[in-house]
Symmetry: D2
Amino acid sequence: MSSFQIRTDLALEARESINESEKELRGVRVEEYYRKEEDIQVTKVIVESKNAAKTMGKPMGTYVTMEAPALVEPDEDYHREISECLAEELYKMLPGHEEEQSILVVGLGNREVTADALGPQVVDNLFITRHVVKLYGKAAYNCDRINQVSSIEPGVMAKTGMETAEIIKGVIRETAPDVVIVVDALAARSTKRLNRTIQITNTGIQPGSGVGNHRNALTQESLGVPVIAIGVPTVVDAATIVGDALEKLLQEDNEFDCVKYMGQHRHAFTELNNMYMTGKDIDAVIKRVSFTVSEGINIALEKGME
Amino acid sequence: MSSFQIRTDLALEARESINESEKELRGVRVEEYYRKEEDIQVTKVIVESKNAAKTMGKPMGTYVTMEAPALVEPDEDYHREISECLAEELYKMLPGHEEEQSILVVGLGNREVTADALGPQVVDNLFITRHVVKLYGKAAYNCDRINQVSSIEPGVMAKTGMETAEIIKGVIRETAPDVVIVVDALAARSTKRLNRTIQITNTGIQPGSGVGNHRNALTQESLGVPVIAIGVPTVVDAATIVGDALEKLLQEDNEFDCVKYMGQHRHAFTELNNMYMTGKDIDAVIKRVSFTVSEGINIALEKGME
Amino acid sequence: MSSFQIRTDLALEARESINESEKELRGVRVEEYYRKEEDIQVTKVIVESKNAAKTMGKPMGTYVTMEAPALVEPDEDYHREISECLAEELYKMLPGHEEEQSILVVGLGNREVTADALGPQVVDNLFITRHVVKLYGKAAYNCDRINQVSSIEPGVMAKTGMETAEIIKGVIRETAPDVVIVVDALAARSTKRLNRTIQITNTGIQPGSGVGNHRNALTQESLGVPVIAIGVPTVVDAATIVGDALEKLLQEDNEFDCVKYMGQHRHAFTELNNMYMTGKDIDAVIKRVSFTVSEGINIALEKGME
Amino acid sequence: MSSFQIRTDLALEARESINESEKELRGVRVEEYYRKEEDIQVTKVIVESKNAAKTMGKPMGTYVTMEAPALVEPDEDYHREISECLAEELYKMLPGHEEEQSILVVGLGNREVTADALGPQVVDNLFITRHVVKLYGKAAYNCDRINQVSSIEPGVMAKTGMETAEIIKGVIRETAPDVVIVVDALAARSTKRLNRTIQITNTGIQPGSGVGNHRNALTQESLGVPVIAIGVPTVVDAATIVGDALEKLLQEDNEFDCVKYMGQHRHAFTELNNMYMTGKDIDAVIKRVSFTVSEGINIALEKGME
């Protein structure tokens, strides 16, 4: 119906965009549960067939979405309860989590653009252990089992002249992690999900949307190791917002031909293409959300070790 | 006609928003000239009557707008030609410029929010002289005449707990500058003006729009000294963008009742209220534009001195 | 005996530098206690007479020093126990703490110089309430009593062209706080105190040492309101280090004339004058210590309110 | 004679530390010239034999040192003349410079520690072309010949958990540059060389000194491509300063046994081991020097292309 591409990084929203009649889509399994105490809605969308993947515009795999309205609010304890829920979901998705392993966390995005700084700020607060274990052994941490955690902030192509994937591939070849966790700021379709939602997926990262499009595929297929992606939507695509307003209009006014209208105003829409929309207090939000996410990763990577 | 408030900090755009028939508004004088070599269009809007001020939604005073398409582009020399044009216009507007004087430059905005960091980044690159002249005399600069330049980055209310105006008033009382220059990131109505336009006005800053709304009045009336404001539009208000799309629509479809539509969708529009829209490469743009503006101020404040 | 000026911001060290025989100095009262659980040694030095002040090189007043070796170490909880001890000592020293009051916290120092960034980083993490109470009343915090907390990072003279004291005086005149708390990075005499010690004093800040010397007097006398200074030594003065090495030498070698030696090598010592010494991991240390100090201030300013 | 290790990254200083009698060392060739107009002293030290390398404590290769006293001073034009001299010397040392090639510039060091931020700040200002040429061809730059320039800031081991060399090797394997240029902040022996000297060498980087010791070998041998290192001394090692003071003393006082003394005071010296000394205005200095160096690299990499 719509000539709009679905511009969202959230599987949850991709599914919502599908016509009601198709929602009981074959090949898509949905599980939901609500954590009352923490006020977190967890939705697991499992895309099981190629056909479903095509309809959704999302690759096959598992997408866990945590909707936590509190995430965007200030909190003395940086929402420890959300970190712990994230840790649980991440731990479940982490292949080989019962063994000690080596994990590389990649902070995607541009530290200099506030809404895109989630990845870099998350890796700032990780508990990094690989170099210590390599140099001094586990004794340095006074424990029998420990994961070797490393991290990298690859930067953006305009500054490095290299694709993010090139840098990550090189680092993986040289340091041979067992798993890669990629953290990135996402684009949502709806402003109401901004900074309130965490998505965890075992499909990695596909080229396409995101805040800065600093991406080619970062997937198990391209990198050769399992890739888990953690993302928080921090922006809404500007063209999407305008398009949505027009679609609402269309629903009320059957005379109005949305597609024709957009064709006639192509220039106005083109000019929106490299724009994004974000909140005015985005700096404080990103700082807090990053801390909650990094603590979630820290807890997950210490689970089962001691 | 429109139920939209004119959401622009640019006098130029405020004037464009007025119905054609009213453009020959009594009390508004417009002078334009084009600098061919530098490709800079300079427009001077002088609002001369209270009535005109009300219609325009802009206080009485002089607004010089430099439209310089090259401003947004990378340049080895940071667009020295634009700095020089800015210096000229600023110098003309600077009261008492033929005498040595003391000038306080205020960098408004939030350094941590990329699109709002223009003011802070401009003061980073200023040539500050006041303390040296006070401690060592003009001899330190080997010259007979020199302005005493000081600067402050007052920060944002969420971090200081104080209105910007309180901080500035205090500093003015204590250091008694002859003139204040305020630098701030602005909101434009049209994406095509983003980062391509510099506005210089002797009306100071009014509470209202801007990126972060970090403002109550910073005007000659409130501060007791002449206030010149220099601004560059770096964002577009999100509600404005959507509203504009709807208005275009209205022009084509006389059946469509824009005001009614917006009333019915109040929630969607409210949610846009604290959002703004900006470009994806805003970090690099702000860095470059800030440098061009700070050089313009530096040159202006050295003019006539030696 | 020594031709060295005592280069330390710590009253504790100033006192140690005094000859043994003079330690029972009239006009200096010392109280000590040890908090075993937290491993914090608290020493209170009260300089009660002008004479004692002159011998110590420190103004009359109370100096509380917390020696907390753990402060420099990483800790998941950012050493909450040290924050709480700091809060207790700060609260005791805070005049009028049983009433609601307005408190301005000043973060001295240069954010761009790692070892000097303590003050700016502390104010980044404060719980700022003044603007909210002014705009929405205490209801906004759902409480009956609350302090109005504001903060400012005045920056350094090379960037502002103004003395820190000018800016602070202006802000005080305009916003009329009841008390000022000043936070600054200090210089210690001994490397073993670096980043392990917190000094709290009701004498404010005197021009002189510190990392960046960004100071003229910030005292009750100069500002007109009580001033409490909180400092952590993050650097050692380079000339002090070299001088100390020479003095140790002197103690062992009676033939060696230290004063003469230094006279003969004046140039080498002069060149050290604008140098300081700090640790290689100073960035991580400052980040952690700042957080512990800001939490201490937050807790103190919430004590007795609810 | 001395029990001190020679703690300097400058070949020039290493050579000065050698006894006078040995200076006419076999296997070390020295060429000097003075550029009067720019006030730059250029010294080329060529270490030609293994024996000489051992005595110098520097690997075989060519070391060009530019002593430019103006480098540390503010300058409106960021010392373009020094950038041009650096470009010339770098260009001469660059293998294959007459052909188009692919060049990876590595910014070593810790952006968060001011004195160690030279490398990261230099790569911030480079003219990066590789991605544009790859995506759009040389046509994008309107030229026939152009080098493909990429850059990376690998970060420090405490944050990444990886050795710098691991990251660089991986990136080289994946992107196959023809030459690597490494930029780093160095440690000097003498405060008078701080921020006034640029060293260019084709020996790459050896593990050892530097500000943050973020290094294992980055050399042609370890990386498989030619490596040119550009460094500016921004700190003096603390132990070196104290040791130097003692040695001067020794020269005057033959009774004094420096080695014995240091043995007796081992603790005091150990405690200096992770300390460094730097100037109080290091932030402004690093910002300016970085710009001069990055311009030097930009000019060199555009030479001969068009």
